[in-house]
Amino acid sequence: MSAWSRGLLAGPVVFVTAATVMAGAALWLPAGPAQIDNLVLPIVLFPAIWAALFFYACLDRRLRRAWGLTLLLLLANAALIASRFVGTPAVRP
């Protein structure tokens, strides 16, 4: 059961979390001097975000903690993105 749970976490859940962190980073990362860092860096670093989450999900001995931290990241960024659509634009279009 724990193998399936870890597989689920390290596979689809980590991938969706990495994509959500990438999208959310557009809202919390500084735009930098060219006003593009918040848009470009998350796209360029997407493989690194995924790899960090994947290895963490595979290697953390406490599976519950791995689930908790991953879901926390996912939900925090998802909430930030949701607030973008209901609140004031966080990024200058």
């Binding site: 990438m22 809202l27 060219a34 848009l39 860096l41 796209i43 790899a51």
Partner: protein
């Protein structure tokens, strides 16, 4: 030595093996086609040469010719213009406007493409339509484009092809990282090939040595490759949704750099040849791509892209005022001023394509890519051979041999379809190329289903690949290409070099296809078992 607890090492070893086993064969296809795609430009020049070759990518008189062509097309298309060299040095001029296609969030271009002779600037062909259509009818560049598409998306429809190759890139990155971490004696293993009586153990040592030396390159290729695959299929759509309400064109404009203030008043274009000459002087090398926005308007802007000059890694982007011809600025690839994101994005292409130092860097990338193929294939063979007592793994071993040695045959057969299609006057050569590829795959499958040992099949496939490679220069010539005497007299060096490489490749395949003993023994005793602990 990397110190890891035993259970963590075991977990990483399992991830390393299963990442390879589950996705290894597809990964092998992507890496092998990537090795070929490194020389996509040269393959295009070889398959569709212009005789005699062009002296410069954009010759004098191009500006006037472009102005003439702009008067021959629908005025709606005279908005954006891209100029770029294609197979044989042909120049493509794509007048277009940006459009949205129903059901497709990605922006598209619609317009007219002129293929120009690089010396006389005569129009060789004209194609009108949307970007995908005009691309599909590009016969002169079709062979190179077919091989590149196979590498980039496995010829699967967008965005699924990019998603698959992106996931394969992530799998390769996992294999590279876990491969590094599970090495107990990395430095020692970089230089160790032991002489075992057991062929399997010797093969394991060769796999480890090749993989160890190749680790940094494999990581770089995997990282940059998955970036390219995911940027278009996930990154840009998701970012556009979050920051620009789904408008991808707005996102791209913001990232590339804000365009000048709109001024739709008609205005003649300044001397394009002068701008190209100025750009070559400033960058230290000739232009490789030109983009004109708002052609024929007062707010026209010309951006000249040059490849990196000698000793540089990053290309130059020089911006000119289209109506006055005045130099405006040199801008980074992304954004209007230097930034961390722009700098990081700028190194992705040279690191993935290996095109920053001409043929030298391309050759190094080719060799390292070839080593990655070897590592992937030998890793899969080790995994399946170690489990050969089980019938499913024995069948898997035959599949590994079939794909491993059948793919080079299929890739070598692809130009046969291209030349046959061209001789037959086919408008879209993709179908005959797919047919040739499928025929080679079917032949491989047929050989694999027989009772012949897999190792003997590998020899047969290698020899067949050698025979096909040897036939390609002849087929190229027979389908209307220049012979060696003409090529030599007119300085078609790329064509002659490619023919020589194909003949050398044929000889190497023939030699490698000599039958040899299969590594069937399994290591189970004493000292011999120890090295296999870290084998996949």
């Amino acid at each position: 030595m990397i110190a890891l607890e035993r259970d963590r090492t075991r977990t990483l070893l399992a991830i390393h093996g299963w990442a390879g086993v589950l996705l290894g064969l597809l990964l092998y296809v992507v890496i092998a086609t990537g090795v070929v795609a490194v020389f996509a430009d040269e393959i295009g020049d070889w398959a569709s040469p212009i005789d005699p070759p062009a002296a410069a990518p954009f010759p004098a008189g191009l500006g006037l010719r472009i102005a003439e062509l702009s008067r021959q097309i629908d005025p709606a298309y005279v908005d954006e213009l891209n100029l770029y060299p294609r197979a044989g040095g042909r120049i493509e001029a794509f007048f277009h406007r940006h459009i949205s296609v129903a059901g497709d969030a990605q922006p598209h271009a619609e317009g007219a493409v002129f293929e120009l002779h690089p010396r006389t600037l005569e129009v060789l062909s004209r194609r009108d339509g949307i970007d995908d259509e005009v691309q599909a009818h590009d016969t002169s560049n079709a062979l190179a484009a077919f091989l590149v598409d196979l590498h980039v998306s496995l010829h699967l429809p967008a965005p699924y092809g990019y998603l698959v190759t992106g996931v394969l890139g992530l799998a390769m990155m996992v294999a590279a990282v876990t491969g590094l971490l599970v090495h107990r004696h990395l430095l020692k293993e970089l230089f160790t090939i032991r002489r075992f009586r057991d062929a399997l153990l010797a093969r394991r040592d060769r796999h480890v040595v090749a993989a160890s030396w190749n680790l940094p390159f494999a990581f770089v290729l995997a990282f940059t490759g998955s970036y390219f695959s995911f940027a278009g299929s996930i990154g840009i759509p998701v970012m556009a949704m979050v920051a620009f309400g789904g408008d991808q064109t707005a996102l791209i404009e913001a990232i590339v750099g804000t365009p000048p203030t709109e001024n739709p008043a008609p205005a003649p274009m300044a001397d394009l040849d002068g701008m190209l000459a100025d750009a070559a002087r400033r960058a230290g090398t000739a232009a490789s791509f030109v983009s004109v926005s708002h052609y024929g308007r007062a707010d026209a802007q010309v951006t000249v892209f040059t490849p990196p000059a000698a000793g540089e890694l990053i290309s130059h982007n020089l911006v000119y005022d289209g109506s006055s011809g005045a130099f405006v600025r040199e801008k980074p690839g992304l954004g209007l001023v230097p930034s961390a994101g722009g700098a990081l994005a700028a190194v992705m292409a040279p690191l993935h394509f290996g095109n920053f130092a001409g043929l030298l860097s391309k050759s190094v990338w080719f060799a390292l890519g070839f080593a990655s193929c070897y590592v992937t294939l030998t890793g899969l063979q080790l995994w399946t051979t170690r489990r050969a007592e089980s019938p499913p793994w024995r069948a898997a071993a035959r599949v590994v041999i079939g794909v491993g040695y059948g793919l080079p045959l299929a890739l070598a057969a692809t130009p046969i379809g291209y030349f046959a299609g061209r001789v037959a006057g086919v408008d879209r050569t993709e179908a005959p190329m797919l047919l040739a590829l499928a025929a080679a795959a079917a032949l491989t499958a047929l050989l694999g289903t027989g009772r012949v040992p897999a190792e003997r099949n590998a020899s047969t496939l290698l020899r067949l690949t050698g025979a096909v490679l040897l036939s390609l220069p002849l087929l190229r010539w027979a389908s209307g290409g220049p012979g060696w005497i003409t090529a030599s007299a007119h300085g078609l060096t790329t064509l002659m070099s490619m023919d020589a490489v194909l003949i050398a490749g044929a000889w190497l395949c023939w030699r490698a296809g000599r039958p040899r003993a299969a590594p069937t023994a399994l290591a189970t005793n004493g000292d011999a078992a120890a090295p296999l602990e870290s084998a996949p």
